[in-house]
């Protein structure tokens, strides 16, 4: 499980995050949602251990981030960057295997794990031999998820996984992602600005606004019992196109 307790962060005396609390039970999928400038990217980088924070605790399975080195922490949290974030110079397979190789895994162990993950994300083996520039957006996402899961981390962190995909692919990959998360059985934190995605993939949604958490709950909670007017504004702003009745 992933816990964030009382996280504070200021940049040059400007508060960016204040009193952020978040708790995701083991195996759950949780969405962190907010518009740009809400502080969600900063929270993501803090959670990855990339930048320091002023106050608070981050824990995975009751072990605090600050008691680990960056390298040790990285093995506990699998990161899927925006648009996959694959290294362009190496093949899909080498992207997936990179960290394991650096950790001195044997070739057979690596092969075994890659094959296992390939089945979970349901990827054609030929795709792994390709370079990122030869892959479709959905293929890159799957390879990136394999890479994040390679070291068997307790938590997976996905940054805007669908942002760069066209709407049709997005729809089908959402379905896929949901079942991939189930098969992986990991604690998942999804950072997004897309409410639809958050609703579809996550059981619980946390809304971040101006560096503070304004509400955590299900979509139903957010829709029916908004904590502040901004929650309703955010939801309404993301409503889809008008239906036929509205047009008449």
């Amino acid at each position: 499980m992933l816990e964030l307790q009382n996280i504070y962060k200021t940049f040059e005396d400007r508060p960016v995050l204040a009193d952020v609390n978040l708790s995701i039970p083991k195996g759950a999928t949780h969405a962190l949602i907010g518009s740009s400038g809400s502080g969600k990217t900063t929270l993501l980088r803090i959670t990855l251990g990339l930048i320091p924070f002023d106050k608070g605790y981050i824990k995975i399975n009751d072990q605090a981030l600050l008691s680990f080195t960056q390298v040790e922490w990285a093995d506990r949290i699998g990161y899927v960057p925006q648009d996959g974030g694959l290294f362009p110079h190496i093949s899909g397979r080498n992207n997936v295997a990179l960290i394991a190789k650096l950790r001195g895994w044997s070739k057979s162990r690596i092969d075994e794990r890659v094959e296992q993950l390939r089945k979970i994300v349901d990827l054609n083996p030929e795709i792994l031999a390709q370079f990122p520039r030869e892959m479709s957006g959905g293929q890159k996402q799957r390879v990136s998820i394999m890479r994040a899961a390679m070291m068997d981390p307790a938590v997976m962190l996905l940054d805007e996984p669908m942002a760069a995909l066209d709407p049709l692919i997005r729809r089908s990959l959402q379905q896929e992602l949901k079942s991939i998360f189930q098969r992986l059985g990991k604690t998942v934190l999804l950072v997004t600005h897309d409410l639809g995605e958050a609703v579809f993939l996550a059981e619980q949604i946390t809304m971040l606004h101006e560096g503070r958490i304004v509400q955590t709950g299900t979509y139903r909670d957010l829709l029916l019992h908004p904590a502040i007017p901004f929650v309703s504004q955010f939801i309404n702003a993301q409503r889809t196109l008008p239906d036929a009745g509205e047009l008449q």
Binding site: Q70, F87, P88, H89
Partner: protein, 495 residues
């Protein structure tokens, strides 16, 4: 730091290996016909009686370079002229006699022979038609046309006190500075032949005086000092090889002005090889010429050595410097700036700066080439790394790669196309610049270019220039292939 140390050790080792072979007698010579002929004569004289191998380092830059070479032991003996020694070396123009000069050189561990028999002094020359048109016989006759006359003088003549500066003082000449050109000595003959200039400085035994129908202007003031040709040698050479030195002394008084002028004419006009001219005069056998292919092979070896070592240096030092420039901002600016400043120093000037530190021969040439090939590598490493998308670096850190792994697994591979392009630029620039190494006696393709220039002999120039161009082409091809191996497949252009 460790990497830089490794580079230094490697370079040191390479230099040592280069200088171990059996110790030959090193004969120097300046970059004009007469000096080549005399140098060749010295070499053959020694070869005809001695088993000690002779290494010819003919066609080296200027008097200063030759003299540094002699002092540092890069050469053992070379032909020079008493006037030059007194004025340019000892800076005591009042010394006129051989004994005075010999005594003055003695303190530097050097000695000279007696006169070889001829006086090769500076003179001013105009075309015969020009002389007739303006009724010119002596230098003083130039005064009526001093404002309009166009002249080309060699760099050495312009700068030596017993050259141009003293000359205009002695004759009260007021040339128009706009019309005085400084140029390479061998090119000034071409300039006067094509009427680009009216007046040039010459050496009085220069064969081109006859060939181009030039008139020498009388020096009525006896301004130009006497330039007796002599051998200049290290005393340690004289002590170590007394027999060889005696053989050289055997040529004292043997070469008349007439004989020297004829030999120069043979070289300049009939394009007879220096070795053949010297052999003819000495009555010795013509040393078996190993042909132009052998010459090119030897020059290729020398050139490859120069380019190879400097390239190795630029890679081993330049890449770490480029990486450091990215990481440490202030130091980075200093590194980039200083390698850019080095690049702006003209190559010949840089070579001269390096002579006091490295002496003459391959070392200063290598040092200069190393410095020159640094900038493209440092700059491209810097630019290449800066162009890497910072997202990849952040992602790599998020995946748990340490600094070193981020550099070697992500940053350098992503920067490799730019980096390789920098090394390629450095190589090709190096191949071109290495032709100047001949001026400090480091050989290479520059040697035939330089002697071809001295003789105004295009085929000889091409013997250096064409292989240099070919080497650049081959280097280009090699880097294309290297790109296919070194640049990660994911970054290569699709076939």
């Amino acid at each position: 730091m460790k990497r830089r140390l490794q580079a230094a050790i490697l370079l040191g080792t390479l230099w040592c290996c280069g200088s171990i072979a059996a110790e030959p007698i090193l004969i120097g010579g300046k970059i004009f016909t007469e000096s080549y002929v005399l140098g060749e004569m010295a070499a053959q004289t020694i070869e005809s009686l001695s088993q000690v191998p002779v290494n010819r380092k003919l066609g080296m830059g200027s008097t200063g370079i030759l003299f540094e070479a002699l002092k540092s032991g890069a050469i053992d003996v070379y032909p020079d002229y008493t006037g030059t020694l007194a004025e340019a070396i000892l800076k005591r123009p009042e010394l006129r006699s051989l004994d005075e000069i010999r005594a003055a050189l003695s303190g530097m561990g050097l000695t000279i022979s007696g006169s070889l028999g001829f006086n090769d002094t500076y003179a001013l020359a105009v075309k015969e038609e020009f002389a007739q048109a303006h009724d010119l016989h002596s230098i003083g006759d130039l005064i009526p046309i001093e404002a309009s006359i166009k002249a080309a003088f060699s760099y050495e003549f312009m700068d030596r006190k017993d050259g141009y500066p003293g000359l205009v003082g002695s004759y009260h000449l007021n040339f128009n500075p706009q019309k005085i050109n400084r140029m390479e000595h061998s090119l000034s003959f071409q300039a006067i032949d094509q009427n680009a200039v009216d007046l040039i400085d010459v050496y009085s035994t220069d064969a081109k005086i006859k060939k181009l129908h030039l008139r020498l202007l009388r020096d009525d003031h006896n301004y130009f000092p006497v330039y007796q040709a002599v051998w200049v040698a290290r005393k340690s050479f004289v002590d170590k090889h007394p027999q060889e030195w005696q053989a050289l002394l055997g040529l004292e008084g043997k070469i008349s002005e007439e004989a020297m002028l004829n030999m120069n004419a043979q070289a300049d006009i009939q394009k007879v090889g220096f070795d053949k001219i010297a052999a003819q005069f000495l009555g010795s056998e013509i040393p078996d010429s190993k042909g132009w292919l052998h010459e090119i092979a030897r020059r290729t070896k020398e050139h490859l050595w120069l380019v190879g070592v400097s390239l190795l240096f630029s890679v081993l030092v330049g890449i770490p410097l480029g990486v450091a420039a990215v990481r440490y901002h202030a130091a980075g600016q200093a590194i980039l700036l200083s390698s850019a400043v080095i690049q702006t120093v003209p190559s010949l000037a840089l070579l001269c700066f390096l002579i006091p530190v490295f002496g003459v021969g391959t070392k200063p040439a290598l040092a200069a080439l190393c410095l020159y090939s640094l900038l493209p590598v440092v700059l491209n490493t810097f630019t290449g790394i800066r162009a890497v998308n910072p997202i990849h670096v952040e992602n790599a850190r998020a995946f748990g790669l340490n600094r070193r792994q981020v550099l070697f697994r992500v940053v350098l591979p992503l920067a490799s196309p730019t980096l390789l392009a920098g090394i390629k630029t450095a190589t090709i620039v190096s191949i071109g610049t290495a032709t100047l190494a001949a001026l400090v006696g480091a050989g290479g393709y520059g040697a035939p270019i330089v002697s071809g220039l001295a003789l105004n002999d295009v085929p000889t120039i091409l013997m250096g220039a064409v292989p240099a161009a070919l080497m650049a082409l081959v280097a280009h091809g090699i880097f294309e292939l290297l790109g296919m191996v070194l640049i990660p497949a994911g970054l290569r252009r699709r076939a």
